[in-house]
């Protein structure tokens, strides 16, 4: 595990003390937030800001101070594009002595949802159910800003959140998605200690799917890299019993 040092002197606000809900008010997306600052020892006059963001889109809301919680009446998210992957940042700021100094921060806060998640753990393939993909069912988005690969599902599909849980989707679509991702990694040189999305996916292939390390890319080993991509998809299908599940679908007897 790579240890990270914090030289800034600011405090981290534990995620479990923050509760953010995203909902709809007058047909527009909005959020509300509650934060338990008890015992965190921030000065009462320190300001509290909450910043929703998605990729390079960003908003900022003044929630008053530690001593005087004073949120806006409604926090509309009009500048954040349609997405179910919105994140939040909470900042505690000194605006009286050392102006602008960050006294505390919590970042990458996911709003509350019905899905069970392990706090602090990020899924390797987040799903965005809030994209209008017109005539497409789904799309793979390589989000370099957010450092992640996102599976986008067309919001025009009724019950689109259920779609990815169906056996049909898992069996017929997911292996193709894995291939798209592996193809994208063709020219990438893996860094075992790296934290880019490419490193996390290759790590997943090696550790979870037991695939060998990807050969380094050069002009002479294209075949080897193609073989590696096929191995990744095959290992994924084997690991999740895709063929066996396909037979159980009885697709031709419907």
């Amino acid at each position: 595990m790579i240890r990270k040092f914090n030289y800034t002197g600011r405090k981290r606000i534990p995620l479990k003390r923050i509760s953010i809900n995203v909902g709809t008010v007058e047909r527009r997306k909005a959020f509300n937030a509650e934060i338990d600052f008890n015992g965190l020892e921030f000065p009462p006059e320190a300001k509290v800001y909450i910043e929703p963001y998605y990729r390079a889109s960003y908003m900022r809301f003044d929630f008053g101070s530690i001593g005087t919680w004073d949120p806006p009446l409604i926090c509309y998210l009009q500048d954040i594009p349609d997405t179910s992957l919105i994140l939040f940042r909470v900042k505690i700021v000194d605006e009286s002595e050392n102006i602008g100094k960050l006294l505390g921060i919590a970042d990458r806060i996911e709003p509350n949802s019905d899905e069970k998640k392990t706090p602090g753990k990020r899924t390797i393939l987040p799903v965005d159910y809030d994209k209008d993909l017109k005539d497409q069912i789904c799309r793979v988005n390589f989000d370099e800003v957010g450092n992640q690969v996102v599976l986008e599902i067309n919001k025009r599909i009724e019950n689109c959140t259920e779609l990815v849980r169906t056996n049909e989707f898992k069996i017929l679509v997911l292996p193709g998605i894995i291939r798209i991702i592996a193809e994208r990694l063709k020219d990438y040189d893996y860094d075992e200690n790296g934290s880019r999305w490419q490193d996390m996916w290759i790590k997943y292939f090696i550790r979870n799917l037991k695939v060998i390390k990807k050969p380094k890319s050069d002009d002479y080993n294209e075949d080897m890299i193609d073989d590696w991509i096929n191995d990744v998809v095959l290992a994924f299908c084997r690991n999740y019993g895709i063929y066996r599940q396909f037979l159980n679908l009885n697709i031709f007897q419907r």
Partner: protein, 236 residues
């Protein structure tokens, strides 16, 4: 002509024209075709549009804002059909013929892409209008140059919404790099791979400060006080 919006078919047709111009398969954009009934429909409010003769992006954006003053532009920031139609209407300004050729560049420059800010800011009309409305006179650097291109200042500072719309970050950049008397960027400030440039300010220095400071709580002057020596030459 009254203000219109493009229909879904109009957007597809506009995309087809842009691609044709890029590949050379189409000689020019047929504006009249894009204004036909199934490709454009009139905007909900009656706004008279006029041709403009402008010499700079600033002039273009300010005149356009004046023309659109009866619309709540904030509510239309993400109106793809509206901004794309305006791009068609002013295509001679945002994609002028140079040596008898139009080079439109990426679709996002003409067809608003609201997917996320990084695509949104590329629009040659919607993005500078929005930045001007949010920052007013502070947006001076964003409005520099000609309307058919985003300059170095725009490219470096507007690509992240957090920086692009931060009054203090932009104020500090103006103090450093903008010559108020000559109404232009100071010579050398737009350089690449050099210390003390706009690029270095936006890409390296500000993100580093964001780890320790909430820059929006500070003034431009307070940000300048934190800067390393490489920027002090601009203040002399």
């Amino acid at each position: 002509m009254k203000l219109h919006i493009l229909t879904e078919e109009g957007l597809t047709e506009f995309r087809y024209y842009l691609n044709g111009l890029r590949t050379g398969e189409i000689a020019d954009l047929d504006r009249d075709n894009l204004f036909t009934e199934n490709l454009s429909i009139q905007f909900e409010k009656e706004i008279e549009m006029f041709d403009l003769k402008v010499n700079s992006k600033k002039e273009f954006i300010i005149e356009l804002i004046e023309m659109l003053k009866d619309i709540n532009l904030k509510e239309n920031y993400y109106n793809v059909e509206l901004w794309s139609w305006i791009s068609v209407y002013y295509f001679d300004i945002v994609c002028p013929k140079i040596n008898d050729l139009r080079k439109p560049g990426a679709d996002d420059r003409h067809i608003l892409n609201p997917d996320n800010w990084q695509r949104y800011y590329r629009h040659l009309i919607a993005a500078p209008i929005r930045l001007y409305l949010e920052l007013r006179e502070l947006a001076i650097g964003y409005l520099d140059g000609s309307p058919n291109t985003h300059g170095e200042f725009f490219e470096q500072l507007a690509s992240s919404q957090e920086l692009a719309t931060s009054p203090s970050v932009i104020e500090a950049a103006n103090i450093l790099f903008w010559d108020n008397e000559k109404k232009e960027f100071k010579r050398g400030s737009r350089g690449k791979n050099k210390p003390g440039t706009i690029r270095r300010y936006a890409r390296d220095i500000i993100p580093q400060f964001q780890m320790t400071y909430d820059l929006n709580s500070m003034s431009g002057e307070e940000i300048i006080e934190l800067l390393p020596d490489e920027f002090s030459g601009w203040l002399e």
